[in-house]
Amino acid sequence: MPEITPTAHRRAIASAGLCLVLLVVLSLGIGVEDLSFSGADGAMPLADLLSISRLPRTLAAVLAGAGLAVAGQIMQTLTRNRFVEPSTAGTAQSAALGILIVTLFLPSADLGLKALVASGCALAGTAVFLATAHRLPPEQPYLVPLFGLVYGGVVGAAVTYVAWQNDLLQYLDIWMNGEFSGVLKGRYELLWIAVLVVAAAIFFADRLTIMALGEAQATSLGLDYRRMTQIGLVLVSVMSALSVVVVGLIPFVGLVVPNLVSRLSGDNLRGTLPQVALGGAILVTGCDILGRLIRFPYEIPVGTVMGVAGPGIFLWFILRERRDA
C-alpha cells in the first residue's frame, strides 16, 4: 500500500462526498408518486412530498448509515477485532430489549423515551460483551465475533420470547428489520443525534487510533484506556439504539464499511473516520434505493437488501485483493 497522505484522504473524501450527493438526489427522485410541479389530479404538491416523505427518508438513510458505520469502527477499536459490529455483539439486540420493556410498561412513551431506555440497555448489553471479549485469548481472534454472534443470538432469543408472550411479535419485526418506508417528517429527527456521534468520534479520532494499538501500548503513550473505552461504549450504544428505535436494525454497515476503508486508506482514524461516515451513508442510501427499484412499485426493506449486498461487497473486495496480491 503506498503512503496514504492527507491529500489522498482529501481526495477520497471528496469523491465519496460527490457519490453521496448523487445518491441523495436519486433517492429524492424515486417513488410511486411522480415528482411534478403541478400537483394536479390530487397528487401531493412537490414541495410537500419532498419535505414530508422523501427528504426525511433520505436523511434518515444518510444519518443512520454514517452513524452505524462509525459505531462499527469504534466497536472494532474497542475489541481490537475487525470482525465485530453492533448488530453482531448484542448491542442492537439489547437495544430492542429496551424498547420492548418500554412498550410493555409504558405503552404511551414517545420515541425519545424509547431511545433513552434502548440506549441504556444497549450500553449494559455491550459492556457485558466487551468485558467477556477482553477475557478471550487474543491468539484466537475469531472467538470474539463468534462469541458476539452467540451472545447476540441469546439476547435476541430472549427478546423474541418476551415479545411472543406479550403478543408484540409484529413490533419486534419492525425493530429487527431496518426499513425506511415508514420514515416521515416528525418520526426521524432523533437520528440527527448521529451527527453528534460522528462528530465526537472524529474529535476522539487520534485517541481511538492509539487505542487500536492495544491497551499496553496505549497506556504507555499516556492514554486513559478505561475512560476511552467508556466513551466508546456510550457512542456505540447510543447510535445503535437510535437506529433500532427509529428505522430498525440495519446489519453489516458497521462491519463492511470500516473494513473497506481500512483496506483502501489505512487505520489512521484522523484521516479515515470521515471516509467511514461517508461510506456508511453511501451504502445505506444505495441499498435503500435498490430496495425501492428492484420490485418497483413494491419495496424491499433496506435490512434485507443490506443482508445480501453487505456480505456480497465484502467478499468481492476481499477476493479482488487476494487476486491483486
Binding site: 479520532a205 487520534d206 499516556g222 492514554l223 486513559d224 481500512s262
Partner: protein, 264 residues
C-alpha cells in the same frame, strides 16, 4: 532515578517476582539479562505501569508509578515491549509520530515533526517512511517500534529485547545509537538483552535475573566471568579476552568437546 522497593508478584499461583530491590540512578545503560521466564519483562511492565503492582513500590524520579497520571508518566518514561501485537495499517512515519502523542495529543507541532524526522533518521528509517507497517519485514518493524519509543522523548527508556529480529548490522547500529543517547543526552536506558556480549560491550551495568530474583549485579567486567555466567545460565560459559574486550563463547561448535555444554 528508578527506585524499586521490595516488589513481589504472583501470577496464576506462581511467584514471578520475589522481593526485588533495585535502584537505577539517572543516566547510563543498564542491561537486564537472564534465562527465559526469569521475570525481566514482568519487571519492566511493572515499572511502566502496564501491570498493577501487588506488593512493594516503584518510583520514577520520586513519582510513584501506581498513582501518577498516565500522561505525566508517559513524558518521563517510554517502553518498548517484547511483543507489540499485530501491526496497524499506518505508515512508518505515522507510527513513529504516535510516539509524540503524550506531547501533541494528536495535533503535531513543528517540534513534534522535527522529533519524528530525527527518530527516522537516527534509526535509518527515512527511506521506509512512507511504507505501510503491515508490509515491512520483522526487523524493519522492530526498528520502527524502537524509533517510536525514542520519539516519545522521555528521560527513561525501557527496551525489552530490542535486538529481536535485527540483523548484525542493525543490532550493532542500535547499540551504538543507544550509547550515544546515553552519553550525549543523558537518557537513562534499561535494556533487556539475551546477547550477553552486546550487554558487555555497551552497558555500564549488567543486572542478571533468575527465578524472579536478582542473581547478579555489577559492571560488565564483574559479570563476564565463567563462574558468574554459569550461576545464571546453568552451563559453563567460556569467556575469552579479545582485544581488550571480555567475550563469552556460548556457541555450540562442531569438533569441540561436547562436555563444554553439559557438565559431566
Amino acid at each position: 532515578m528508578i527506585e524499586i522497593k521490595s516488589v513481589s508478584l504472583v501470577r496464576e499461583g506462581q511467584r514471578v517476582l520475589d522481593a526485588i530491590d533495585l535502584s537505577l540512578p539517572k543516566g547510563g545503560i543498564t542491561a537486564l539479562v537472564g534465562p527465559n521466564g526469569a521475570g525481566k519483562s514482568t519487571l519492566l511492565s511493572l515499572a511502566a505501569r502496564l501491570l498493577p503492582l501487588q506488593a512493594g513500590s516503584i518510583t520514577i524520579d520520586g513519582l510513584p508509578v501506581s498513582s501518577t497520571p498516565g500522561k505525566v508518566l508517559a513524558r518521563k518514561l517510554a517502553i518498548l515491549r517484547q511483543d507489540s501485537g499485530p501491526p496497524p495499517r499506518v505508515s512508518v512515519r505515522e507510527m513513529v509520530g504516535f510516539g509524540r502523542f503524550p506531547h501533541s495529543g494528536g495535533r503535531m507541532t513543528a517540534e513534534d515533526r522535527e522529533m519524528v524526522a530525527q527518530a527516522l533518521d537516527r534509526f535509518e528509517l527515512t527511506d521506509l517512511a512512507s511504507r505501510s507497517l503491515d508490509r515491512l519485514s520483522g526487523g524493519q518493524r522492530q526498528r520502527v517500534m524502537v524509533a517510536m519509543t525514542y520519539a516519545q522523548g522521555s528521560d527513561y527508556i525501557l527496551l525489552d529485547e530490542p535486538l529481536n529480529n535485527l540483523d548484525m548490522y542493525h543490532a550493532r547500529k542500535l547499540m551504538i545509537e543507544l550509547r550515544r543517547l546515553a552519553d550525549e543526552t543523558g537518557r537513562t536506558i534499561v535494556i533487556v538483552l539475551h546477547d550477553i556480549n552486546h550487554a558487555a560491550a555497551s552497558a555500564d551495568r549488567i543486572i542478571a535475573m533468575k527465578d524472579g530474583r536478582i542473581a547478579a549485579d555489577g559492571t560488565p567486567e564483574k559479570i563476564m566471568r565463567t563462574e558468574v555466567l554459569e550461576a545464571i545460565y546453568g552451563f559453563p560459559v567460556e569467556v575469552v579476552d579479545a582485544g581488550g574486550m571480555r567475550l563469552a563463547l556460548q556457541y555450540a561448535r562442531s569438533g569441540q568437546p561436547r562436555d563444554q555444554a553439559r557438565p559431566s
